[in-house]
Symmetry: C2
Subunit: 149 residues, 2 copies
């Protein structure tokens, strides 16, 4: 099947593009003093409202011990707060502080600023195409996530 060969080449390119994109974006994120995984987790907390640590770990597709450390780092920087649950005391809820909100939007602005110069040369039509591509990737990821290895 021709579709298979296309998929093969496409998978490689997608993989490579994602790697190199993240390497570029990481540079900007470094400027905020917050690493990419932390920023990503913070983003989930900010937009997804307060979550338990376990929920956050699942959302970020990471094991609980990893999330414990990420949250500890964020907490040490004053970007999130841990809050105990009175009804089920095993749970810890994570919520963003005002500083967390601020840092997130600052980082976002920085990233956009960087992208802006590149996007400035993109036609509106290309923007739409890119948006479509991003949507497709999200769908792909979602459809992969269910399946076991």
């Amino acid at each position: 099947m021709t579709k298979g060969k296309d998929a093969e080449a496409l998978a490689d390119q997608l993989h490579s593009a994602a790697i190199h994109l993240l390497r570029q974006l990481r540079r900007e994120d470094d400027a905020s003093g917050v690493s990419a995984p932390r920023l990503s987790a913070l983003s989930v907390v900010v937009f997804g409202g307060p979550l338990t640590l376990g929920e956050l770990a699942r959302a970020e597709q990471v094991k609980p011990p990893t999330m414990t450390r990420i949250v500890t780092g964020l907490e040490k920087d004053g970007l999130v707060r841990r809050k105990g649950d009175t009804r089920d005391r095993r749970l810890t809820h994570i919520e963003a502080t005002p500083k967390g909100h601020k840092v997130l939007s600052a980082g976002r602005a920085r990233r956009v600023e960087k992208l802006a110069s590149a996007v400035g040369q993109m036609k509106t039509r290309e923007l739409a195409e890119l948006r479509r591509g991003v949507q497709l990737v999200r769908d792909l990821v979602a459809s992969m996530r269910g399946k076991p290895a």
Copy 2:
């Protein structure tokens, strides 16, 4: 400008999509016993022919010490070989072994297999759209790469 707001949201989504995509793909790559950075470097060596360590580091946008370790790992697994340069003895050329070629295409097959089930439900048209999106991302990365922070 409206374009700016679009870019902002798009940047976020692109960022997030890339992160989650890589997390998924990494699972497959783990099955080959070769980590993503090593696989990426190996891919460059396989397709780009023998390179010096410095060239490889630049290609992967990583500092030389990091590449030294990645290459050392690959070499220990018998996937690449170091070869001295007789004319300029400071240089070390990196070339893929037959095993390196084999492992790379096996990993690629694995990745494709995973993607295949997701892609199987994608229409040909969507494939084309995705391909276009990937191309745009590559262009974006390329245009960002030049600029300093």
